[in-house]
Symmetry: C2
Subunit: 315 residues, 2 copies
């Protein structure tokens, strides 16, 4: 049997045909038609999914279900998108709309961070865990929590917002309006901002040379690469970042005591230099003798599709 | 039927005879004999419990179980005290030792914060909750988490340490060795320290007058009372405290999304002045429209005994 997984983003909608071994057989992308009504969006999604089935010679009765991962808050019944700012969707009965195109198939909908966490649980870095976390360090900070081998959705249906735990209540204003959320200090955005500042203030920094003096060329990866290469200004930025991120990890260890913490998102691509320094700092700060393994997430950009495709396993 | 609950502390051991309605029929206290071997401690505890039964004319076959709440970490099987610094117990098979005195009764052992949380869940402020938190603001900051209507013990058996989530990673050193844990900013200790500083620096403060210029007289309650009475120096301390505590509460809401957050410990005795200001600040900071009720814990010093007595309900 096969599943269809949609990973809906504000720029693209990714669609994947996924087999029972959680491998993506084929995937395609369509542009998200921002500003159009949700019925139009579900129509083009259904068309794309049907094309995918036809191209692979798969009939609908060999599909066991359809999953939709959405960047926003979903009501506890999994029917309504409450708020998805990136999509411009508010109080939208999106599941029903998708369902109308596939009356014979079960349709599931979830938050995209929860879907990615589910994917890592069943097919990636969190395999076999009962209690675990995925943290994604990208433009923002997101992720999900596994408790009792299931996605933990929070007690009142608001879901979980790992990026909006507060790490420095005297710190900078966050996009959510609060002060000093994890997202203000641990997103890739923070590394980029610091790298840009370094370009403006330190012409002798390797960051300046590598970015050819152009702030547009500064990425989180570039800042970390310069730190790895030994540039003192980049090292200083990297150490501040590791200090903040390790405090976040220690907070999660002290609160949830997970078996594994998987880290995904753009920053995680920095690989072993990031992880070995992070683990060292967490060991210094941990009050427990044995605590969570800290590992890279494994599924990268596929996590959304795979997680969506396996949503039926969490119900 | 009756249960016996022990609340073991570094100063006293409280013992209570608890009925099926979770009321304490009678309680007594014995001094904790610090420095004595654990076998001696379990012996005097057993003696005290037997006296309690005899005094109330209750036979052992009318007792359904014995629970022991301990200020320390317990192994996941509930048999061994791993570390209880306040008791001087490390790797102690305390359950077995208690069991040896009551071969015919089931004996349960748990961390005291978990026991108090269980008590609030079954007989106090968290009644009927599936997902909830107890935070105790005393000399330190502790508490417990309820998930799926049960004590959440963490994924690796380390338990949860609400007081050691990090609230300001650039802040002060905590007793655990980390920087800026919740405990450094939200324990009663912080209010007392600030109140003492006010005495030394501001002779015109109401805190100075009320404490008769003696730092030994400064309590958390006194500082809050002076804020309530309108003293500007006390108000400044109180507002900083509410700012920190509200950020902690918002972090818990964003991570766990509990139905109720109960607050216990000495600070919570400040009552409505504390709670109304706290709720106002949490509402300002919350990103969710509906979120946890914030209420005082109900069982106070009885929570340990009651929670210990009902430990059998969590197994």
């Amino acid at each position: 049997m096969y599943q269809i997984g949609f990973d809906v983003g504000g720029t693209n909608i990714a669609v994947g045909l996924v087999d029972d071994n959680m491998r993506i057989i084929q995937r395609s992308n369509i542009k998200f038609p921002f500003g159009k009504k949700y019925d139009f969006v579900s129509q083009i999604m259904a068309n794309e999914a049907r094309d995918l089935l036809i191209n692979n010679g798969i009939k609908e009765n060999h599909v066991s279900g359809i999953g939709v991962a959405v960047p926003g808050s979903i009501d506890s019944s999994g029917e309504i998108i409450i708020d998805a700012f990136k999509l411009g969707f508010h109080n939208v009965p999106f599941k029903k709309s998708i369902q109308s195109h596939f009356p014979n198939l079960p349709v599931y909908m979830a938050n995209d961070a929860d879907a990615a966490t589910l994917a890592e649980l069943h097919a990636g870095a969190l395999k076999g865990c009962k209690t675990a976390l995925l943290i994604t360090l990208g433009t923002g900070v997101g992720g999900g929590i596994i408790i009792n081998g299931q996605i933990f959705k929070g007690g009142m249906g608001n879901g979980v917002e790992l990026g909006h735990m507060i790490l420095n209540h005297k710190g900078d204003v966050c996009s959510c309006g609060n002060i000093g959320c994890v997202e203000t200090l641990c997103a890739a955005t923070w590394l980029i901002q610091q790298g840009r500042k370094a370009i403006v203030e330190h012409f002798n920094s390797m960051i300046y040379t590598e970015a050819k003096g152009n702030i547009e060329n500064v990425t989180a990866q570039l800042v970390i690469d310069c730190a790895r290469a030994g540039d003192s200004i980049a090292i200083n930025i990297f150490e501040q970042y590791i200090d903040a991120l390790s405090s976040v990890i220690v907070s999660f260890i002290n609160l949830i005591d997970p078996e594994v913490i998987a880290i995904g998102g753009g920053v995680s691509l920095a690989g072993d230099f990031l992880f070995s320094n992070l683990r060292k700092k967490v060991t210094e700060k941990s009050v427990y003798k044995t605590y969570a393994k800290i590992v890279p997430a494994q599924l990268g950009n596929d996590a959304g599709i795979i997680g969506a495709a396996m949503l039926h396993r969490n119900f």
